[in-house]
Symmetry: C2
Subunit: 578 residues, 2 copies
């Protein structure tokens, strides 16, 4: 395959072809038809970019995947770089002189990236189509999944109201929405174009008068009577550029959010002489602030999800002969007991001992460890729930002692827990960002000279993406936290080659008083008291643990089997006795 690509480059007199691991929507989870890097190189990780040359090629990924890349790539063909040490842009500026031609598929590139690239390269060639697609035999078809609606009972707001809300922020004749989750939110629809997230991959245009043009085939729509789709015209996706050119006759100003717009679309607007207004997509904020129906949905989803996780934790206690893969499957089974569970919200991370220290671990038959001996087992998982009365997305991590944990493990788990509780208990003035709160979750680890190398929290959608903007809790998360946002609280600690610790609950941002906000923890599943050094805990911390576990007992106990219930009640009593 690589040889065919090289022939193409030579024929076209192109020196290099840059291919990122993305699609035109910059989706977090790629559809099979967009996994070009995997097809060409064999590399199966998520974060990568390749600069293909006529002789040698250059492969960029991050620290998580360097080893994997070395195993999966043909090292005679590829030189591998750690992106954090040498970015694609740096490589380009160091290696491409003014005589070199670099080709791109502009649909896969952000506007910002192309603009930075332009400064560094002799000639950028924007390809009309992706050369990989031409040589890709048996390329999987795009997933044209069915489009289904979400009732107002679930969404809390009809599309008409949402459109009116978003139009208030319009500063042009129309806005092009390029984020699939934002279109789904606006129209109260979902589909199954990718794994884990119920998305329809499409562009949409919202006009001043509230009409929407949705670039998806109408036959995919399962409900022609859907009231949320009134004033929505389905258009063929491959007619998008034609439609833009027609619109340019009647419209002058068009709004986009450059941060999530690919260069092809941007260029299309330029070619058609639109006056481009670059503005943050107003749906980002609107979507992130959940209304009461969505909050009800999240609460219900967490009861169902917490029940499954609690059953799983009991099961784990009594199944010493299991392994990472079996355990993850077992948890999925428990989730499937609920009729409202649709599918996981991401690929579970089920890691025992040293595998738990790999932050984005994925158990395979090669790496699968038996969960036995004395160490820690970490499981990070979540579900997409879509019932008749509620919908929601969950994400939870629990770390469990297997055998006899060491004093060091207990101390470090307790530090992580103290950070988790500090954040969960935080009250903060309106206007405070996640960047300001991040240290609360880290401070107790920092006291011991320890830290963890990932953000403390990310936004979570309502039966949408498990990672949702614009807010988070990390040093880079500068957007103010707002009432109704749902965020994860997931501090951790990882000792390479030994063990991993992470405690993750989802929390809702809610009103404390007129000037202050606070968090309300949504996730309902017990923590492992065997991993807590209670002498390190303050009274308010112990009180938080007691209240949290009493709430779990109240919500879940009566839905458990007798043995599960007895186990949970005993566990809760252990917290109450501290």
């Amino acid at each position: 395959m690589l040889s065919k690509l090289k022939v193409f480059l030579k024929e076209q007199k192109i020196d290099y072809f840059l291919l990122p691991n993305s699609d035109e929507f910059f989706s977090e989870y790629l559809p099979e038809s967009e996994k070009r890097i995997q097809y060409l190189t064999g590399f199966s990780g998520s974060n990568a970019a390749v600069i293909f040359g006529t002789k040698k090629s250059y492969f960029f990924t991050d620290g998580r995947y360097i080893l994997q890349a070395q195993n999966q790539l043909d090292l005679k063909e590829f030189e591998i770089f750690n992106m954090s040490e040498k970015s694609v842009l740096t490589w380009v500026s160091e290696n491409l002189n003014a005589q070199k031609k670099l080709a791109l598929d502009p649909k896969l590139m952000s506007v910002n990236f192309v603009n930075s690239c332009k400064k560094n390269v002799g000639e950028l060639v924007f390809l009309d189509s992706n050369p990989v697609d031409k040589i890709w035999r048996d390329r999987p078809k795009t997933n044209n999944s069915k489009i289904f609606g979400c009732a107002k009972k679930l969404t809390g707001s009809d599309s008409k109201t949402k459109r009116a809300q978003i139009l208030q922020e319009l500063e042009a004749d129309a806005v092009i929405i390029t984020k699939p989750e934002n279109i789904c939110w606006l129209l109260n629809i979902r589909a199954a174009d990718i794994e884990f997230t119920p998305l329809l991959l499409a562009y949409a245009i919202l006009f001043k008068n509230g009409e929407v043009e949705l670039f998806a085939e109408e036959k995919r729509n399962t409900d022609s009577e859907n009231p949320d789709l009134v004033k929505v015209n389905f258009l063929q996706p491959n007619c998008f550029d034609l439609r833009i050119s027609v619109l340019s006759k009647s419209l002058k100003k068009i709004q986009i959010d450059e941060s999530c717009t690919n260069y092809w679309l941007y260029n299309l607007l330029q070619k058609n002489h639109f006056e481009i207004v670059n503005k943050n997509d107003a749906i980002e904020i609107a979507k992130s602030c959940k209304n009461s129906a969505e909050i009800f949905g999240a609460t219900e989803a967490h009861k169902v999800d917490g029940l499954a996780v609690t059953k799983f934790l009991f099961w784990l206690q009594n199944n010493s002969q299991t392994d990472e893969i079996k355990a993850a499957e077992k948890l999925l089974e428990f989730r499937k007991e609920s009729a409202d569970f649709l599918y996981p919200s991401f690929a579970s991370i089920s890691g025992f001992a040293s595998n738990g220290a790999v932050i984005h671990y994925h158990a395979t038959s090669k790496t699968n460890k038996k969960i036995s001996g004395d160490s820690l087992y970490l499981i990070d998982s979540g579900g997409q729930y879509f019932g008749t009365n509620f919908f929601g997305t969950t994400d939870i991590t629990r770390t469990i002692a297997i055998g006899k944990p060491s004093a060091e493990m207990i101390e470090n788990f307790t530090r992580v827990l103290k950070g988790h509780i500090a954040l969960a208990r935080a009250k903060f003035p309106r206007g405070t960002s996640g960047a300001q709160l991040d240290a609360l979750a880290r401070n107790h680890l920092w006291q011991a000279g320890l830290d963890f190398d990932h953000g403390t929290g990310h936004g979570v959608g309502s039966f949408l993406s498990v990672h949702e903007g614009p807010c988070g809790i990390s040093k880079r998360a500068h957007h103010p936290l707002l009432e109704g946002m749902i965020l994860s609280n997931e501090p951790g600690f990882y000792k390479a080659n030994e063990y991993g610790i992470r405690i993750e609950n989802l929390m809702l941002v809610e009103k404390f008083d007129e000037r202050f906000l606070q968090f309300c923890t949504l996730t309902l599943a017990p923590l492992d008291p065997d991993l807590i050094d209670f002498t390190m805990m303050t009274r308010p911390e112990k009180k938080w643990l007691q209240k949290y576990h009493q709430q779990i007992e109240k919500e879940l106990a009566d839905k458990l089997l007798a043995a599960e219930k007895a186990w949970l009640q005993n566990l809760v009593r252990r917290f109450l006795l501290k």
Copy 2:
């Protein structure tokens, strides 16, 4: 005076003249000769800007000074605005149409401000000289104070070494240094051009070869043999523009830091066709990371300063008939007992009860309160120390119970103290900014829905400015904290019209291990145990208090009079018994 200014405007056919309360160096404390707004309007606050019109004028200040402005200004002439509600720029964009002429003294304006202004105003008129100076009778002379050197024992590094260090970052033929404190640091000199800070107000040019041109009269220099002034040429300040024009014949590229360069200078470089390199002044960081001599100096200064404050606190206990002004004078007397004390590092804030709630309070004969009854007394003060063995700058705030403090005062003081201790005890990864740590100092107040409306900490110079960049501890302080920086730790709580609380110590950033930093508290003066609810304190917090007070006793006890010593020892014992 105002009428003369109006005549000038009419004659020149200018609609408005914008005057900020600043000098060409953007000094924190203005020399008398630069207090133009005070001369013209009677307003004596620090933060202000006025747009003078031919009829009406518009006065802008911040929330602290609105009342004062209303008292001091002629309200028939001036309309007063709160800057945070309407900035000068907003007013300009709303009120000046394309036909209007706005005049400026470009020496008093930052490059950024002028550039923003240009977008909004029909015509900007850059005046050759400030019209106020022409009508100002008996304008105070510029302070042309004596320039004196600081021995290497104090500075720890000679000017030659410092210049070589700064030249490593030069990206031009020469750099113009526009911050007086940066010139003083680079040349190891000081002067007394303004109050509170031992500055020489001047520009300097540092050339590639290490030579410096200093635009100050040579006769001001008290030591012609000063080794730090080798390769320093004194030039007349009023020849600066001529010199720039001569230099333009031989130099091409010149470096400035636009953030602290006035528009006149910037424009001068443009007119002379220099290629301008805009880069953060490398002295900012170099100066803020104190070397071992400077750290020794700070430590010694804090011993002397702490002794004075401790003696004062004892005195206060036994002088129930004092008032705010007398108390501040008494503290100054104690400071003056040290031969190494030069003068205060800022105007003391000495506020009892409701006056303590005024964050930038300055006691006057009108506002002066007797320190008696049941409330809190807050005193924020500091000194400039210049001895033979050390130099340094201090800044300390103590809040003291007078009579019987209320339970609410005690609870809130304890919350402020818990925040202070959380920050003082913090360890954090290298690369962490003050913005990330700020919440540690606020979290315990936030828990009660309380907060304070100022930053938690600012950098402090070495026998230089008491407010020094580039680091701080606040939500806006995004620069990483570095080893050797000195910062204040001063959380507070203010209940308007009732009382104010602030606890301020200075801290040194020091190495914890290869990856982590920590703070070392420098300030040495006891806290008031009567204001602490020890049941709210954790064990590590009590331990910190015990160790801190034991250190104070160790450093100070033997330098105190018998009665003072007995009082201190008894106080320290109270902490140890908790």
